[in-house]
């Protein structure tokens, strides 16, 4: 896309100078409430939290500054380290698997499937449910004594073992399963939409050249879907970072704190444990992490597109 003009064109005969001025100011005026609110309610609150992270606040915010003390405590906190590692594992797998399943299902569903509408709705419905309760359902399904493992045992395969939920080393992967279940349908919808938007003449041309179907998908269609990947990754990483209801409902961070995530850590320290300073420090670390990982990606994608 060519670089668009960032200003209105030169005045025209049909408009008065007053109207021109309005045309220049109106867009800014329209956007200004959002700008003000974003500056206060996003950046203002982040700065406030940043300040709080340098205080010894416990039960409620108070401003006795203690320097980097809370950050030192945080880095010495085994639970926090676990939570961060878990976010990397969880976030990485969650995004990767959702993309994989999303792309595959979208491609399959794009093959003139009968009942497409129904199947699509089935894939999408998990997004509509609140994790407050689907968490309980998943907890049962994944519990070795109650759910899948038990079921397979009853069918006669007593060697079958599926105890991830209660295994400290594997619990974090059960979070991935439930999270993928909830969001992959949405990703599928994104890709399906992307596929439908591709100009079919490109594909026809490739077919005439005798390219095989997987090859067409791999080297022609997928590259066309790059913007969809961008949107999907943004939405998925936002979901991964904010994952809170999911952990609370499914494992509450357990066994022990082996499946804890930063959002849960921050919440419990800020609100239930009377460690508000520590909670604020963890929030700032989270944001710093988001910045470090996402900003380069956002930058390259947005920049790349503008020059394309």
């Amino acid at each position: 896309m060519p670089v668009t003009h960032t200003n209105t064109p030169a005045p025209l005969a049909s408009t008065t100078p007053w109207q021109d001025k309005m045309q220049v100011w109106l867009p800014k005026l329209i956007l200004s409430p959002t700008i003000v609110v974003t500056l206060i309610c996003v950046y203002g609150f982040v700065i406030w939290t940043g300040l709080l992270s340098f205080t010894k606040s416990r039960f409620l915010p108070q401003f006795d500054f203690v320097g980097w003390r809370q950050y030192e405590r945080l880095l010495n906190n085994d639970r926090w380290i676990t939570a961060c590692e878990n976010l990397l594992i969880f976030g990485g797998l969650f995004i990767a698997i959702c993309l994989l399943i999303g792309v595959l299902l979208a491609i399959f569903l794009d093959q003139k499937i009968q009942q497409e509408g129904m199947i699509r709705t089935i894939y999408l419905y998990p997004m509509a449910l609140s994790f407050i309760v689907t968490g309980t359902a998943w907890k049962w399904i994944l519990n070795p004594g109650l759910g899948l493992e038990n079921l397979v045992h009853q069918m006669g395969f007593t060697d079958f073992k599926f105890d991830w939920l209660v295994n400290s080393d594997m619990a974090v992967y059960t979070l991935v399963i439930a999270a993928v279940w909830q969001s992959s349908g949405f990703v599928m919808a994104l890709f399906l939409a992307g596929l439908r938007g591709i100009d079919s003449s490109i594909i026809n041309a490739a077919q005439i050249d005798g390219a095989s179907k997987p090859r067409i998908y791999w080297s022609i269609i997928l590259p066309c879907l790059r913007p969809v990947f961008f949107s999907a990754i943004i939405i998925l990483s936002h979901l991964a970072i904010k994952s809170f209801d999911l952990v609370t409902a499914l494992t509450s961070g357990g066994p022990g704190y082996s499946s804890d995530l930063p959002a849960l850590f921050m919440y419990s320290h800020s609100f239930t444990r009377g460690q508000m300073g520590l909670g604020a420090a963890s929030a700032i670390m989270m944001l710093a992490g988001i910045l470090a990982i996402l900003v380069p990606y956002l930058y390259s994608e947005l920049r790349g597109k503008r020059n394309a």
Partner: protein, 291 residues
């Protein structure tokens, strides 16, 4: 439109494979719903003694009635029916206002760029990633100062503030694919800011409006954190009632009622998905995901 690569005849095996995979995945997606449904029709003893995935020994609808009308959510035991209205009163204005603002913001950012508007868009995108737990206290202080603490208006305001980042993103990505030439031509004809929006962009916006509404409706309807913290005693949304029903710590648990309540609470979002679902893919197709 289906990509034409699929229009040619397929070999039977491949077709079967595709249908097989799709059907298998559908079963996987439906499993939790199945567990929930089956449980909601069981009796308490059935749950205590039977396997969770087994069918009820006898099908009873008591828990559905209880969840709707007699389960305790606090000092009152009138089920979750009363909370439906509370949620609707909050969700409808929040969705409409944030969609409205998002449409105009997206319009400005894509078609009326000015110095700093791209920077602002990036700044706003960062707001999407803000963990909401972080804003609870400062937001509470602000609402208190505005005199909106624990009111429905205050809650709507909070949802609008943190929803606008997403709605703006959706509309901006949609409008950016509308050829600039269209807008430029209209400007040459002397059309103003609102006229262009009204006459050119709005008529083609139906799909993206649907996408935005679905997205906002789902996330606001299912929100618990803001709902529990900023609502008033008599305006708690349905997620709070559901939580009160499900999350008793030292009380006796009735899972059949929990599951019935959860399905009831999800009905509006499910309804929106079923009815507006076709717009969802269509709206996304029409450009919102083209970045």
């Amino acid at each position: 439109m289906h990509s034409s690569s699929t229009s040619q005849g397929e070999n039977g095996l491949g077709r079967w494979l595709i249908y097989g995979v799709l059907a298998l995945m559908a079963l996987v997606y439906l499993l939790p719903l199945f567990v929930m449904l089956v449980t909601s029709f069981k009796t308490g003893t059935d749950i205590r003694t039977g396997s969770l995935i087994s069918l009820p020994q006898e099908w009873v609808t008591d828990s559905w009635q209880a969840a709707w009308g007699t389960a305790c959510t606090g000092v009152t035991c009138d089920g979750i029916k009363g909370y439906f209205w509370n949620s609707i009163k909050m969700v409808v204005p929040a969705v409409l206002i944030s969609t409205f603002i998002g449409a105009f913001n997206g319009y400005v950012i894509s078609k009326w760029r000015f110095k700093g508007s791209d920077l602002f868009f990036s700044l706003m995108l960062f707001g999407c990633f803000l963990p909401f737990q972080l804003v609870l206290l400062p937001m509470a202080a602000m609402l208190g100062k505005l005199g909106l603490a624990n009111t429905t208006t205050g809650l709507v305001l909070v949802h609008v503030i943190y929803g606008v980042a997403f709605t703006t993103l959706f509309f901006r990505n949609y409008y950016i694919n509308v050829p600039d030439e269209l807008v430029k031509a209209a400007k040459l004809d002397g059309a103003g800011f609102f006229t262009i929006f009204w006459a050119i962009l709005l008529p083609i916006s139906k799909p993206i409006i649907m996408v935005t509404i679905i997205w906002q409706f789902t996330s606001i309807w299912n929100d618990f954190l803001f709902g529990v913290v900023y609502s008033g005693a008599d305006s708690q949304p349905i997620t709070v009632a559901l939580n009160n029903l499900v999350n008793t710590s030292t009380g006796v648990k009735a899972y059949n009622v929990d599951m019935a309540a959860a399905i009831i609470a999800a009905l509006p979002t499910l309804f929106v998905y079923f009815v507006a679902g076709k717009y969802f893919v269509r709206g996304l197709t029409a450009g919102s995901v083209k970045g």
